[in-house]
């Protein structure tokens, strides 16, 4: 972008700041300004036109420095664009595309607008490829597909971010481009996550677009749009992209702040009337395309486990399902604290193999039954043999779903272990030992090439879950041999 004097000479229009209200400047002059146009102040700061009135132009300030009344403003005739480059991989940037990790500036950059129309139906494809998160309960019960938009919702401190980071680790290991938009969070958290990704050696596949709570509201508001534009850049190269928007409830709050300051009429919970539109237009830009895909995981924060908040239900309506992190499950010690009964995946099953679909069905049915039995037992009823069996297996399934942070489990290892549980290989083993033993199997699967091929071919040869369970019952050594059980 050129400087103030260039645009003053070439466009020949000038404005003067008449009033500044927090993140909004009211400017007189600029007769031909248009919405979404970028303006430059004589101090070198930039802003974006958000609305026009008879006397003034309303400008969203994107500067960290205070803007004074009387400052000169010129319009640029350009929509808001950010520099995009492949060099951004491995970097932490702000919403204006500037590196904030202290490393060098980007050289070969192209410009891309941040507010694009979502892709039309012609360029889209239905979800066909599975999206592996490495998290057992999600991959088996609430599976996702590449190009899916899945809301991640839950109270504060319920493990949402850890789940997102696990997804990111899993996808980065598979070669996807991962874009993590941190929207208006603490600088300490931003730094912490950046260091975490570096430490896990996946940063070369990631781009972090971060705005902190101390940034101007305008910059925070732009963060997810910038992240989406970068995702589209890699999507257009035919790559699979994972985009995490953490979190959209904060984004809505910042947009509410801007709208109220701009004297927009407040609607429900004081949010502006177009809050659904702006979020839907953004999330609609993700999806599975003929060339590349953008899997979008927007995050929403719930309060006291309430799923019926305004922004939360809006986001549910515009995504292909949601993963609900339950504070009660978290307090019970379940990790991840995902509630399978209250989580939904609308398109993930269609990307699964018939075996995975069958397993998912079996597990879902079992979890419903297990939950019913648990409620039944609360009445102090005497348990029959069948009930006892369900409860015992349920406890083991709970232990199986419990997963340490950073532990990425391949889908076939999960399927093998689920089949082993159904085949009764752990019937005589205590719940505490199950986790240790399953980890031995996972380790063997991850480290032994021959074992992995053996398991993969076994799974590929089974069309339904019962068939796999039968195979394992007949040849239980495939698992037992990997367990260091005392003879």
């Amino acid at each position: 972008m050129k400087d103030f004097n260039y645009y003053l000479e070439t466009i020949g229009e000038i404005g003067f700041v008449e009033e500044v209200v927090y993140a909004i400047a009211y400017v007189s002059g600029l007769p031909n300004a248009h919405p979404d146009e970028v303006v430059i102040f004589e101090t070198g700061e930039i802003g974006e036109v958000i609305s026009l009135s008879q006397d003034n132009v309303e400008i969203l300030l994107l500067s960290r420095n205070p803007t004074r009344v009387g400052t000169k403003v010129v319009r640029t005739g350009e929509l808001f664009q950010i520099p995009i480059s492949d060099e951004m991989l491995g970097r932490l940037i702000d919403p204006l595309g500037n590196p904030i990790d202290g490393a060098k500036q980007f050289k070969n950059v192209s410009k891309a607008p941040i507010d694009m129309q979502p892709h039309g139906i012609i360029g889209r494809e239905s979800i066909k490829k599975p999206f592996e998160t490495g998290v057992t309960i999600v991959d088996l019960v609430i599976p996702l597909g590449k190009g899916q938009r899945e809301l991640v919702i839950g109270d504060r401190k319920t493990g949402k971010t850890q789940f997102l980071l696990d997804c990111l680790l899993s996808q980065a290991a598979k070669g996807s481009i991962c874009i993590y938009a941190v929207i208006g969070q603490r600088l300490l958290d931003i730094r912490g996550r950046h260091e975490y990704l570096i430490q896990k050696k996946v940063m070369d596949k990631c781009i972090m677009v971060a705005s902190s709570s101390s940034d101007p509201a305008g910059l925070v508001y732009l963060t997810p749009y910038v992240a989406m534009s970068i995702a589209e850049h890699f999507r257009d190269k035919g790559m699979d992209v994972l985009l995490i928007l953490d979190d959209m409830t904060s984004h809505a709050r910042y947009y509410r702040e801007i709208s109220l300051l701009a004297k927009r009429f407040p609607g429900r919970s004081s949010y502006p009337g177009d809050i659904f539109y702006i979020h839907a237009k953004l999330i609609e830009r993700a999806g599975n395309f003929k060339k590349g895909s953008i899997t979008c995981l927007p995050v929403a924060e719930s309060i006291m486990g309430d799923l019926t908040g305004y922004i939360q239900t809006n986001l549910m309506a515009m995504t292909d399902g949601h993963i609900f992190f339950d504070i009660e499950l978290f307090n019970q010690g379940k990790r991840p604290s995902i509630h399978p009964g209250l989580s939904v995946t609308r398109v993930g099953h269609q990307a699964q193999t018939p075996l995975q679909q069958d397993l998912s069905q079996v597990l879902s049915n079992f979890l419903v039954k297990y939950s019913e039995m648990q409620q039944f037992m609360h009445f102090g009823a005497e348990a029959g043999e069948n009930v006892k069996r369900v409860l015992q297996l349920g406890e083991k399934i709970d232990a199986f779903f419990n997963q340490l942070p950073d532990q990425i489990i391949p889908i076939n290892a999960n399927i093998l272990l689920a089949a082993g549980l159904w085949a009764g290989l752990w019937n005589e083993v205590s719940v505490t030992d199950i986790k240790r033993e399953t980890e031995q199997v996972i380790l063997a699967y991850q480290t032994e090439e021959a074992y992995r091929s053996q398991i993969d071919s076994l799974i590929n040869s089974s069309n339904i879950f019962d068939q796999l369970v039968t195979n394992i019952k007949q040849n239980n050594k495939i698992i037992i041999d990997k367990l260091n059980r005392s003879k």
Binding site: L8, E9, G12, E13, I14, S28, G29, L30, P31
Partner: protein, 157 residues
């Protein structure tokens, strides 16, 4: 004399600001001196030509407060043409410039003059958000940017 005569004699932003100050003074004084405050202020604290104009305007005599508020609103809404020039303008300069502007654009137009000696000559004009630079500085800058490579070569030798 009437309101139009006052508008005709308001040439610059400073004139307008001064008139608005006087109008405010008149409005506030109308509530003083048991109703005589307005007359006292009109006779003693306001410039004579404005006082004469007001005294001879039947609309003012009928309802002075509404008249003054309307006058203030009108003057505050005048268009402004801002000009940066490279010399200190004389009264005659301002007079001629204002007459030309009022003739070309309209009576309800004020001029705001800014003295900037770095312009060397000519003027920068800002009107309704449009910016035009007709200064010698710009011409010299353009010429210099065209010739600077050659000039540097000459200086280097």
């Amino acid at each position: 004399m009437n309101k139009a005569d006052i508008y005709l004699r308001i040439k610059t932003q400073e004139d307008a600001d001064k008139l608005i100050e006087e109008v405010d003074l008149l409005v506030s004084s109308s509530y003083e001196g048991k109703g005589q405050g307005l007359t006292v202020t009109l006779n003693s604290k306001i410039r004579a030509w404005i006082a004469d104009s007001l005294k001879n305007d039947p609309d003012f005599l009928r309802d002075p407060i509404s008249y003054l508020e309307k006058l203030k609103k009108d003057v505050a809404g005048f268009d402004k043409i801002e000009m940066a020039i490279s010399y200190q303008p004389t009264y005659e300069n301002i007079e001629r410039l204002s007459q030309t502007v009022k003739r070309l654009i309209g009576v309800n137009t004020l001029i705001k003059l800014i003295y900037d000696p770095t312009l060397l000559g000519g003027a920068v004009v800002i009107y309704k958000g449009n910016y035009r630079d007709y200064t010698l500085r710009k011409i010299f800058d353009n010429e210099f940017s065209k010739m600077k490579v050659d000039l540097f070569k000459i200086i280097a030798h």
